[in-house]
Amino acid sequence: MRYTIKYFFSFIFLCAIFSNSTAQNGKADSLYAVGNYFAASIEYERMLFHSPDVATQHYFKYRKAQCYKQLKDFSRALEELQSIYFNNSSDSLYMRVCYEQSLCLYLNGEAPKALWKIDEYIHRSKDSTSFQYFMPIKLLCYNETQQWNEAKGCFVQFIKAQTFSQEKEKELTDSIEWLYTRKNLPRMKSADRAETWSRFIPGAGQIYAGHTGEGITNFLINASILTFAGIQAINHYYITGYLMGLGFFNKTYHGGMKRAVTLAQERNKEEMIRFNSKINQMIRESCIAE
């Protein structure tokens, strides 16, 4: 009877808290659940304004940041998350806030900062079971920063943290080894090398970056402008040759170098997205249970 009463009271106590918080969050949560993230963010903002204590404020800021993340406004989500301070790393919200911060940093194109955030969490937190949630993002960040060995190690660690059978674990580890072999890694083009190629042979940098047609066009434009300048000079039209010929040549020559760098960077980005997408799909399909 004593135990029954204890259970009964604990149930009433928790149920009261839960029903109270549900009534408060109900509208915002339901808006979030149906995918109306903008309206949900406004509702969370209203609740944040009325919230009495710091812990509740942190929770609503976290939820607001999640709304911004879904709206793909990652810098705003980061602004919201960065205003949450924790004195105690054992706070239940700490892990989720750190996770969202690292995710939003990665999505915002700041992979090195995301790595730094994850390392900070691992250093501060005592809950080692939660580290596995960070591993997929850490792995993608390592790839983004071209730290292939670290990425491979992180992936293997993530696989080992899951509860797979030995055969499955071996199969996945082998596919990771295969994925990170030299021939499967993204072939990155050096932006500096592209610029140097274009400096000496106009258009060569574009060809190096994989855009042969554009490279040939650039070479022809530069060659024809220089020819024009030369012909004008031969015919003693020095001012026309200098202003029209060399003036335009200056624009297209430096433009070609700049374009070669842009093309190399774009190509690298595409290669990296393709590689990370493959890894992302592998994690989703074989490593995370429904």
Partner: protein, 153 residues
């Protein structure tokens, strides 16, 4: 021990409701949906080399868009935008760029007024003119001065 089991059996409904309430409060990390978000977001970032369209594309053939002057203007603008502009080192000061502005102006006001507005814009697209521009009109995304066609009547 048997007493405890009997107690649990007796209060199973209460325990179930208790666990249900805990489930409602906790919000676990949705790793799979976050990875989906990463995937879709990064795929959207891939820069597709799409050609900029011809000014009179998908328009019914009329005298206004098929006379020799319009064809020459449209053709040279198409060649400039798709083949030549990327080889220049200088970037346009404004948003939309001068060529896009010209395209929009000709579409809206016709070839004569559109060409005059284009000449006016080209004359304002230089370093000297940049010193007199209002910094308040800088577009945060493109980092260029806003000068849309809607400003002109």
């Amino acid at each position: 021990m048997p007493n405890l089991l009997a107690l649990i059996k007796k209060n199973s409904l209460l325990i179930f409701l208790f666990l249900l309430s805990l489930e409602g409060k906790s919000q676990s990390i949705q790793l799979k949906s976050d990875l989906m978000l990463i995937d879709t977001n990064s795929k959207q970032q891939v820069h597709h080399h799409q050609k900029r369209s011809y000014i009179y594309k998908n328009q019914a053939k009329t005298f206004k868009n098929s006379n020799p002057a319009s064809l020459l203007y449209g053709g040279s603008l198409y060649v400039y935008q798709n083949l030549i502009s990327q080889h220049f080192s200088a970037n346009c000061l404004y948003d939309p760029s001068c060529s896009d502005f010209s395209k929009q102006a000709v579409k809206r006001f016709g070839l004569v007024k559109g060409s005059l507005l284009t000449i006016d814009r080209l004359n304002r697209c230089n370093r000297i003119a940049a010193t007199g521009l209002d910094p308040q009109t800088i577009n945060e995304k493109s980092h260029r001065f806003n000068d849309p066609i809607s400003k002109y009547k």
